[in-house]
Amino acid sequence: MVESKHSWKAWIYLAPAIVLLLIFTVWPIINTLRMAFLEGYSTMGAVGGATYEFGIGNFKQVLEYKDFLTCLGNTMLLCVLTVPISTILALLIAVCLNAIKPLQRLLQTIFFLPYVTNSIAIGMVFAAMFNMVGSAFGGENELIITAGIINNVLGFFGMDPVNWINAGSSYGANMVVMVVYIVWNALPFKILILLGGLQSINKQYYDAAKVDGTSRRRVFTRITVPLLSPMLAYVVITDFIGGFKEYSSIVGIFGEDMGPTGDPRRLNTMVGFIYDALANHQGRASAAALILFGIIFVVTLINLYVSKKKTHY
């Protein structure tokens, strides 16, 4: 009964949002498609009067570029490593937090702290903790002036210093640093959501299990995890989408070279790839962005499919 009367009103309420969305969301989608299919498109050239032909050259260039697979591989690897690690850790911490009384509030606050920090700023702290100053690392004439706090801690336990992020560091060491940092960053959000989920699980299930004398492990795998599965699915899916957009955490540790000295771009990701191209090769950047969208789309579909099968509502 109110429909027809309010129709125009609704559009007025929606007008500001729709105007902004048209300019800053819908138009970009159209324009990206256009630039991606104009061979070698660049805005500077367009201003200078150059014209561009329709074609798929940008996609070809992106796919044939030697670092494209590196970017894709890094992105995937970071996703595959950090999503499970951070989810499992977060789940463990949430379950433990849920099981204690004293100190619960304090610990909860501490675990949430990383969420309210500036990711680039804390990236600088991490970089400083892993940074080494000196020369010829790993060579015969190695000279370490400062080894960094992490190495000092390792040294305390009798281990040799590791070259984490400096010239001559190994890909594995770089990855460890990135995984630690990204997991550290992802934990608070996940802990919070999972803890919220845990607290909303009906106590009756646990009481019933107690009466039956079910073991702790069985309670965890048969009651907690299934009942928590919607939240788990949510954090995993959003984390995957976020993981494919990984960029600023790497800038935080390695700077805009996206890799250690002597091997820049080694840790470059898909988004980093897009930003590199964005400065002078807008056509190429658009093509790369579309490719990334395609990948995220497929991965999300798979995720949704899997979680539908595994999630209990």
């Binding site: 902004l20 800053f24 100190l103 949430f112 990711s119 700023a121 400062t146 706090i149």
Partner: protein, 297 residues
């Protein structure tokens, strides 16, 4: 408490089993706390490192065996960081952008969420579905064109360019719409009968009821301004409009970044401090906001 009661009951009934389960419980609790405290220490260590480093002298910082507590507390690092990084300017910029964009964003979000939750119009569901669909597209894809658009608008290096393009968040609209939907429709119809206008109803009934969500959105949006990096770097390279994250990165890494890490750490601490304050005072709302955003089924 109830666990304790349980324990005493069990003790009365089965002495042998109870002794074992008591030990088992204590062991489990000890393990639990050990695990949690270890993790907490790991989580908090970078903050600790940042704070102690920020008051060390360069000489002390560079020692090959670092001190876990500074020998001399050098607060002048903070003064230096504030001056070198031109942090005052960056603070003001970030505050302006944060506050203005939050206010405008709230208005737009409330109006849109209201339309989607309470009003009926043709194509409502289709439009809403389309909006949700755009959430899946990576923002990087928008950056390329928005960069050209704001350029054409002549917005480079203005506050406008930092505020306007991100005023609409479909996510917030969605969040608030869910919240509005929970308010019984009868209230709205009753208000209609009384002849209350939509705006008045929105202002007097809906907004107060959805206040926690609105506060959460405010905080998340402010934190967004504090943390944004990529877009400001592209469109506001002039110092007068730089935001805190960009200034921080530029001020200490380009010129003599490696020269004085303690000062750099002091700058990071200064930047993080307001966020901590906000967190401590509004902890409840942030947590609620974040977890609410999480459980969206």
């Amino acid at each position: 408490m109830s666990e304790l009661k349980n324990k005493t009951m069990q003790e009365k009934d089965l002495k042998k089993v109870s002794a074992m389960s008591k030990i088992g419980k204590i062991v489990v609790m000890v393990l639990l706390y050990a695990f949690l405290i270890t993790m907490a220490v790991i989580v908090i260590f970078p903050f600790y490192f940042m704070l102690i480093s920020s008051v060390k002298t360069l000489e002390e910082y560079q020692r090959s065996i670092p001190t876990l507590w500074p020998e001399v507390i050098r607060l002048s690092n903070y003064v230096e960081a504030f001056n070198t990084g031109n942090l005052g300017r960056l603070f003001v910029n970030t505050m302006i952008v944060g506050i203005v964009s939050t206010l405008l964003s709230l208005v737009i979000t409330v109006l849109s969420a209201f339309a989607f939750a309470r009003l009926e119009f043709k194509g409502k569901n289709a439009l809403f579905a389309a909006l949700l669909g755009t959430m899946m597209i990576p923002g990087e894809l928008f950056t390329i064109t928005n960069y050209a658009t704001v350029n054409d608008f002549g917005w480079m290096n203005t506050y406008t360019v930092l505020i306007v393009p991100f005023l609409v968040s479909i996510f917030y609209i969605y969040l608030l719409r869910q919240n509005f939907m929970q308010i019984p429709n009868e209230l709205y119809l009753a208000a209609k009968v009384d002849g209350t206008s939509d705006i008045k109803y929105l202002w007097k009934v809906m907004i107060p009821l959805a206040l926690p969500t609105l506060i959460s959105i405010t905080i998340l949006k402010m934190m967004g301004a504090w943390n944004s990096y990529v877009w400001p770097r592209l469109v506001a390279n002039e110092e007068a409009y730089q935001l805190i994250t960009n200034g921080l990165r530029n001020a200490f890494t380009d010129v003599d970044g490696n020269a004085n890490i303690p000062v750099q750490m002091a700058a990071v601490a200064i930047v993080s401090f307001p966020l901590f304050l906000v967190f401590i005072f509004l902890r409840k709302y942030i947590m609620k906001g974040v977890s609410r955003s999480g459980i969206k089924g």
